[in-house]
């Protein structure tokens, strides 16, 4: 029995850019271009967790504010007009990323910052930044190792937080990050093998930095041809960016995945499953419930507060601070003073004092 249908009911995406500073513009552009494709193919903002470690669009060095371009000559603005970034700036840390994946977030975290997936969710995880053999650097101050990432995915599997998971990484030596995976139903793609660097695509002279990385540039070109009903499968995704275009060798890993990659549609991960039921019947709504007006209570007069009541302020009495018992230091100090005193002058003087 070969399962060719994935059986998922909802789609989630976690898109992370881990680099800070203006010269890492291309990493933010990478993440935003995947965000744009994923939104275009149907995944709503409430199911996307977007983490950008720095703000490039409204950065003071950006000659065209509120834009992030992916093609030189400013052809395509991947930032757009309708973007919701869930984790920005200093919030993009290894701890927050692992907490999102495993679901262990503090209770006051809002919904837009959580990954509320269940065991029928297909999740797309995209990471980009600077990396090395077995680690990925977060914001120039900490790293995540491939062992931690593999353990996080195993926790997700044990807690039934995903049905199938697609992991894409665009960093130097990216293939090392998926070497240690051991949970089922994981498929991984990387932009370069161990020992190779992922290269950037092209600079724009007006903006002054490189705009995109090669792998994600060709990935974006590939995704622009996909529409919500297309039947392209994963084998075409593996062919994106061969060595002639990318200079590095992209790699992929499918041994943990239960289905055959040829039967997995791109839209299983990049698009969204929508359950729409069409009906032709007329539905009659009942009358709205009338709120019973409670009897006119004797309401007090309200007034607007005086914004700067000078006389009140001047004559304000200082607030009485609560009395706290003296803490250990003061007690210890006084005990020491008394001990020294009585040692010096003898205990017989006690009766003269008290």
């Amino acid at each position: 029995y070969i399962n060719i249908y994935s059986g998922h009911t909802n789609n989630w995406a976690v898109l992370v850019c881990t680099s800070r500073f203006w010269f890492n513009y291309r990493h933010v552009a990478n993440t935003l271009s995947v965000y744009r494709s994923v939104k275009r193919l149907g995944i709503p903002d409430s199911h996307i967790v977007l983490m950008l470690a720095d703000d490039m669009a409204c950065n003071h060095r950006n000659p065209k504010p509120a834009t992030v371009f992916s093609h030189k000559n400013m052809e395509l603005n991947v930032y757009g007009d309708d973007v919701e970034v869930d984790y920005r700036g200093y919030e993009v840390t290894v701890e927050n990323f692992l907490r999102i994946l495993t679901g262990r977030l503090p209770p006051s975290t809002p919904r837009s910052k959580r990954l509320l997936s269940d065991d029928r969710s297909n999740i797309l995880i995209y990471l980009t930044g600077h990396g090395g053999n077995g680690f990925l650097k977060f914001q120039d101050s900490e790293e995540i190792s491939n062992v931690e990432l593999a353990d996080a995915f195993e926790q997700m599997w044990q807690k039934r937080r995903y049905n199938e998971l697609l992991f894409i990484i665009d960093t130097c030596q990216g293939a090392s990050m998926y070497e240690r995976f051991y949970s089922p139903n994981l498929m991984a793609l990387a932009s370069s093998q161990v020992g190779e660097d992922s290269l950037s695509h092209q600079p724009d002279l007006a903006i002054g930095v490189h705009l995109m990385d090669r792998y994600t540039f060709y990935l974006l070109e590939f995704l622009e041809d996909i529409h919500p009903a297309s039947k392209t499968n994963m084998n075409d995704l593996f062919k994106v960016c061969p060595k002639s275009q990318c200079v590095s060798t992209p790699g992929h890993r499918t041994d943990l995945f239960l289905r055959d990659p040829g039967s997995v549609l791109i839209t299983d991960f990049f698009g969204s499953v929508r359950k729409v039921e069409l009906t032709m019947e007329t539905i009659n709504l009942t009358d709205p419930i009338e709120q019973l007006e409670s009897g006119e209570l004797q309401k007090e007069m309200h007034t607007y507060a005086d914004q700067l009541p000078v006389s009140e302020i001047i004559h304000q009495k200082p607030k009485q601070k609560d009395w706290h018992p003296p803490d250990g230091f003061i007690l210890g100090l006084w005990t020491l003073i008394l001990l020294v005193f009585f040692q010096t002058y003898g205990v017989k003087h006690l009766k003269h004092i008290f």
Binding site: D81, P110, V310
Partner: protein, 578 residues
């Protein structure tokens, strides 16, 4: 309304927009089957845009969207039917027992000397002030949850607000509440997108179609804010209704957006024109400030409009040309409105109150904060309340506080100082100072910089640490009598701060935020120390261990090659070896 053939009919399409909020009974019956009695709409939405050409050639536009709703969030049976008021904010108010909430996101600094006073002041970065109901007991816990929820709604990093940068002022900001003054924030489209989604018409109809992020952020000053508060419904003020104001202030630069020409139009500023008012708005107007242009000699407006209006705002009586978007005639034959303003505005009056702040000193150990407050009135003096909230890692020496005006010491009539506690709360300093006429008052305060623990540094510590703006609140004498009747219908921009007396009006000025460098350790040192120590241990201890525990044995040197071959031949012959 019935759902027919899978199409949904909008509920508000059946209420005609000319019926002002809170007053109409059931609307005109439609021919299709309609419910017998429709509850009268108790909410009202108004939108307006004020455009003021500035004397430096820049142009100041201020959008205000106001939703009024007669409801009671504090009643036991929770409100569940939301119409114009956004549900996300309504749930926040009822869940956290909020009485008043003001949150603003600003990019850029308001230059008072060049642009005059803003209609709604806001500090650079993000600012959040909340007043809770008296019935709330756990204020700290609720404050933490509220900041997290708001950071989710507005896509902002408000979750960094905690007790280390929150203050409870005793005298500024009536009524009493807790607040956070200007956390440094970058404001971008991701903050504007959820803000636009709170409007009843979204960004699809009415004035909000002009809000395109590419043009809005390419400006000298951009500020968006949400204000929620209860207001009086009528003169007697026996009942209150909830008011939600969403404001957006932008100043477009003459050279950046205007290409150096003194000609502004809606299309040039926003890359859009207006085609209709928001269908659910009871009023939708554009006001252009033409006070300095009474004879039409400074600048001209096109298309011309006969409507004029006068309003007392910021202590002065100003004249405005009004375009009413609810009238079809405003859009003319082209069905679209593209206002054109050609020419410059004349010199403006010097603002009566403005302030500056900077850090003096050298090195990474000590420094001095100087705050300057200017009173430009020729003969009147007025009191100002200065609120300073300094983070704990700048240790203030309050005994060095000096307040001088015109070279002489000026003793404040009220000082409230709450010292900071390391990693728990910031310094809070409030002072009521009387500013003499036509003078500069200087407040100086020395401080020392603290060394943080190495995990408390941000990933880019060499950028520096921000100190929030000072807030200066004051009652400034006004040129004309202010209107103290607060419930009369007035344009929105003149009715934000209620006036209690006629001779002065309330003004709030924010200073610049400060950027202070703290002594930064070398973060590569832990790595260096570990490498060095491990090398020393391996080489030094390892050698010593080997010397002590190794035993030596004497070994015969191996013979040369010729001798070895000879020995083999001799062994074969049976003869003893050499």
């Amino acid at each position: 309304p019935n759902i027919q053939q899978g199409r949904q009919r909008c509920i508000y399409g059946e209420v005609s927009p000319t019926e002002a909020g809170g007053g109409s009974d059931s609307p005109a019956p439609k021919p299709a089957a309609s419910p017998p009695s429709v509850p009268r709409p108790k909410d009202d939405f108004q939108e307006e845009l004020v455009i003021r050409p500035l004397h430096s050639g820049d142009i100041y536009t201020s959008f205000q969207f106001r939703t009024l709703w007669e409801t009671d969030f504090t009643r036991e049976n929770k409100v569940s039917h939301y119409r114009l008021f956004p549900k996300s904010l309504g749930q926040v108010i009822s869940k956290f027992s909020v009485r008043e909430l003001h949150i603003s996101f600003t990019q850029g600094y308001w230059r008072t000397m060049q642009w005059g006073q803003p209609y709604l002041p806001s500090p650079p970065g993000a600012e959040l002030w909340v007043w809770f109901q008296d019935s709330l007991t756990d204020v700290d816990g609720t404050w933490k949850e509220l900041t997290n929820v708001l950071s989710g709604i507005f896509c902002a990093s408000l979750n960094f607000i905690d007790s280390t940068n929150t203050v409870q002022p005793s005298a500024s900001f009536k009524p009493l509440g807790i607040g956070n003054v200007t956390d440094h924030q970058i404001v971008c489209t991701e903050n504007l997108t959820p803000w636009k989604k709170l409007l009843p018409c979204g960004s699809k109809a009415g004035l909000a179609v002009l809000l395109k992020s590419e043009k809005l952020f390419h400006s000298s000053f951009h500020s968006q804010a949400v204000h929620i508060r209860p207001v009086c419904k009528d003169d007697q003020c026996k009942t209150t209704s909830w008011e939600l104001r969403q404001t957006l202030n932008v100043v477009f630069d003459l050279h950046n957006s205007g290409q150096g020409k003194n000609e502004w139009s809606l299309f040039k500023m926003f890359s859009r024109t207006l085609t209709e008012a928001c269908p659910v708005a009871s009023s939708s107007k554009i006001y252009i400030d033409i006070t300095d242009n009474s004879q039409g000699e400074q600048f001209e407006l096109s298309p011309a409009t006969p409507l004029l209006s006068q309003a007392v705002v910021l202590g002065d009586r100003r004249t405005f040309s009004v375009y009413d978007l609810t009238q079809q005639i405003t859009f003319g034959t082209m069905r679209s409105l593209n206002l054109l303003i050609r020419g410059k505005s004349s010199d403006m009056l010097r603002p009566l109150l403005h302030a500056e702040r900077y850090v003096a000193g050298y090195g990474l150990q000590t420094g001095e904060i100087h705050t300057l407050m200017y009173n430009n009135h020729p003969y009147r003096s007025f009191p100002v309340l200065l609120l300073d909230s300094v983070p704990w890692y700048l240790r203030l020496y309050i005994h060095t506080l000096t307040v001088t005006s015109k070279g002489k010491d000026n003793k404040p009539s009220y000082i409230h100082y709450q010292p900071s506690k390391d990693r728990v709360r910031p310094h809070l300093l409030e002072m009521l100072v009387q500013l003499p006429p036509n003078s500069v008052t200087e407040v100086t305060l020395q401080f020392e910089r603290a060394l943080l623990k190495w995990t408390e540094y941000t990933p880019d510590p060499n950028h520096g640490f921000y100190v929030g703006s000072s807030v200066i609140s004051s009652l400034v004498p006004s040129i004309v009598a202010m209107d103290t009747n607060n419930s009369r219908e007035r344009p929105l921009f003149s009715s934000f701060f209620p006036s209690k007396e006629e001779s002065s009006y309330f003004v709030r000025v924010y200073t610049e935020p400060l950027l202070v460098n703290l002594p930064t350790p070398d973060f590569s040192m832990p790595y260096n120390v570990i490498c060095l120590t491990c090398t020393v241990v391996a080489v030094g201890y390892g050698s010593l261990y080997n010397l002590l525990t190794r035993s030596f044995q004497i070994e015969e040197p191996s013979p040369g090659l010729a001798k070895r071959i000879a020995n083999i031949i001799r062994k074969m012959r049976g003869v003893p070896p050499l």
